[in-house]
């Protein structure tokens, strides 16, 4: 180990200790990168940091992040979720345990219109919890369904997490989106099966709804369904469909999606000045948080790599006498453990780059690995006692104790573990769709890539940085 590598590893240790104190991670990373970088690399660290920043600011792929976040907030303000929920509730009212199913299906459908978690759990909690309590639903199972369903938003496209993850793994965002769809809906399906079986054998858990909560006729239920669901379905199909068909870049699809969500909100007469302003402000705060963290962790990562510490970790881990499968399982467990204290932006941007070279050396399909990480991190949202979803739900559903919510989440965590094991054992669950769409030639893209775009797909953050550096040197 060289002197510089030792500095790098010290930086990593100090970083982990420092961010546990609770100061905003971005600023801690920036300072440590400057301090240790200056110690190990000299003044060049400042140029390195600057070019990383300007490179990230010029990266048009990441413009999809604020746009998808905005789309999600507009969809939320527009009351799209309430409509979905009401329509499905009327349709399924006579079925045992119907509200569980309605919550999960609403969450899975809304996940296709939003890229973030939090809003979904809160809105579902506000809408579903009172009715579930009134109808005598089991608190644990209900809280579990709401939190589990709500966290699907970070997994099912247009997940912001997957956009940020693409350049970490050096795979295209379209591939990652395609890879997350089947696991996402498989999870929703597993949830539905679980709650249906439980309420079938024990009808007390989720009784059929009382008459006054049912639709007067099947037709009025279908009418509500059409008004509430079809426009949203059109929006989602246009947004995700255009990415998966290779017609639009994620950024273009995000922009169209944001505009479409605005049109829908206006059509539902929900687009007030106040709501619009609120969606703008929330989008600014959230996207600035994610992207500033992306920027500072890239600076940190660049310093870490230049010091030779990244290579040292890769070589050391690869030299361990364990078979590749076990190594991969270890990395997955590590990602899960990290997802416990840290939120996904920190795990993806700060820690994943440290494991990436190891996984890459093992020669596994990185698209599959990305889907595995995504499901693992979604699970972390459901792991008590440090689970954001529990707090979001507790704030709006005062009738349930935190312990009830935790117990419910544990049941769905069990389902998550089954899903992770399935994806691990049968990689095709994740890779089938991207293989079918992009790699087997099943889909011939007729449109040439946009002439004005120099965006390349499947670049790593490091390659983006090198490209922007070349651009700067040309002058």
């Amino acid at each position: 180990m060289t002197y510089e590598t030792a500095i790098g590893l010290t930086m990593l240790a100090v970083m982990i200790a420092a961010i546990f104190l609770g100061f905003p991670i971005s600023f801690t990373l920036l300072f440590l990168a400057f301090a240790f970088g200056w110690w190990g690399l000299g003044e060049i660290v400042f140029n390195l940091a600057y070019f990383q920043s300007i490179g990230l600011m010029k990266e048009s792929l990441l413009a999809a992040v604020p746009l998808f976040i905005f789309m999600g907030f507009v969809a939320e303000q527009a009351g799209l979720m309430e409509r979905l929920f009401a329509a499905l509730r009327l349709l399924l009212a006579p079925v045992r345990g119907s509200l569980f199913i309605v919550v999960i299906v609403t969450a899975a459908a809304f996940a296709m219109a939003t890229g973030i978690v939090g809003a979904a759990v809160t809105v579902l909690g506000i809408m579903a919890a009172p009715i579930m309590i009134r109808s005598g639903y089991d608190g644990q199972l209900a809280a579990g369904a709401i939190t589990a369903g709500g966290t699907l938003g970070i997994l099912i496209p247009p997940s912001v997490m997957l956009i940020v993850m693409g350049p970490v793994l050096g795979v295209s965002v379209a591939d990652l989106y395609a890879a997350a769809i089947v696991p996402g809906f498989m999870l929703a399906g597993l949830y539905v099966v679980y709650v249906t079986v439980r309420s079938f054998f024990n009808p007390k858990l989720g009784p059929a709804l009382p008459k006054e909560l049912r639709a007067p006729s099947v037709w009025s239920a279908l009418g509500a369904f059409a008004v509430g669901v079809l426009p949203l379905a059109g929006l989602v199909a246009a947004t995700l469909g255009s990415i998966l068909a290779g017609l639009a870049t994620p950024t273009e699809a995000a922009g169209m999606g944001a505009a479409g969500a605005l049109v829908l909100a206006a059509a539902y007469r929900k687009l007030t000045w106040e709501r619009f302003q609120r969606a703008l402000m929330q989008s600014l705060a959230t996207s600035s948080m994610v992207l500033v963290l992306a920027l500072t962790s890239n600076i940190f990562g660049a310093v870490f790599a230049r010091l030779g510490a990244a290579d040292w970790i890769t070589e050391t881990l690869l030299a361990l006498p364990v078979p590749p499968g076990v190594m991969l399982a270890l990395v997955t467990v590590l990602v899960f453990l990290l997802g416990w204290p840290f939120e996904w932006p920190a795990v993806i941007l700060v820690f994943l780059p440290i494991f990436y070279p190891v996984v890459s050396e093992l020669g596994v399909d990185l698209v599959w690995f990305g889907a595995l990480v995504a499901v693992t991190l979604q699970t972390a949202y459901l792991s008590p006692p440090v689970a954001m979803s529990a707090y979001y739900l507790k704030q709006v559903a005062k009738g349930w104790s935190l312990l009830t919510i935790y117990k419910g989440m544990f049941q769905f965590m069990g389902i998550q573990v089954v899903a992770i094991a399935l994806i691990f054992a049968f990689p095709a669950i994740a890779t089938w769709l991207p293989d079918y769409l992009f790699r087997s030639g099943a889909l011939v893209v007729s449109e040439p890539p946009p002439a004005s775009s120099s965006q390349t797909y499947g670049e790593t953050y490091e390659q983006m940085f090198q490209r922007s550096l070349q651009g700067l040197e040309k002058q």
Binding site: N47, S53, G255, S287
Partner: protein, 177 residues
């Protein structure tokens, strides 16, 4: 007296960050418009623009950089809440005060200084974008780096004051002194 003066300063800085936030948040509107215009022009009229690619990344880059201070104001920058949740207001105040002085101000000040030099250089040589034939000037985008750092430093003064208050009194700032 000293407290009321500090209180006034904190309120002015916070209000300024919120106002800047509103202006910056509105960059989303031209960003959406630029993307939609390009998509419609290309697919419906087969007439792609030469400007939308540059405009898109410039608006996005400016928005998230300049929005950093607003995110700080509303507490959006993520913390590791593993222990944070369990700590008293006083403990949080002490940690934040030390971290602002030791990490935040030196780090962001250096960032400002580097960003300022580069932005000024880009302006002086009239640096232009190499990514498209449109070739817009790059200094406005580059100026966002020092500007974002300056806004962060200003908001940091307000946040440091609040943390010091919490560290000294064990109460949240503005909860009645």
């Amino acid at each position: 007296m000293a407290f009321s003066l500090l209180g006034a300063m904190v309120r002015v800085i916070d209000r300024f960050a919120e106002l800047c936030g509103v202006v910056i948040a509105w960059l989303m509107v031209p960003l959406v418009a630029a993307v939609v215009y390009e998509v419609v022009a290309r697919y419906a009229f087969a007439a792609p623009t030469i400007w939308s690619f540059d405009v898109t990344y410039m608006l996005y880059g400016a928005m998230f950089m300049l929005g950093a201070a607003y995110a700080l104001r509303v507490g959006a920058h993520i913390r590791t809440d593993f222990f944070w949740e369990r700590w008293s207001l006083r403990t949080r105040g002490i940690i934040d005060s030390v971290a602002y002085l030791a990490f935040f101000f030196p780090g962001i000040a250096l960032f400002f200084w580097v960003g300022w030099d580069e932005a000024w250089y880009a302006y002086e040589i009239g640096e232009m974008s190499e990514q498209t034939p449109w070739r817009p000037a790059l200094w406005p985008l580059k100026a966002c780096v020092p500007l974002a750092a300056a806004l962060l430093l200003l908001q940091g003064v307000s946040e440091l004051t609040k943390s010091l208050y919490a560290a000294l009194t064990g109460r949240a700032f503005g909860s009645g002194a």
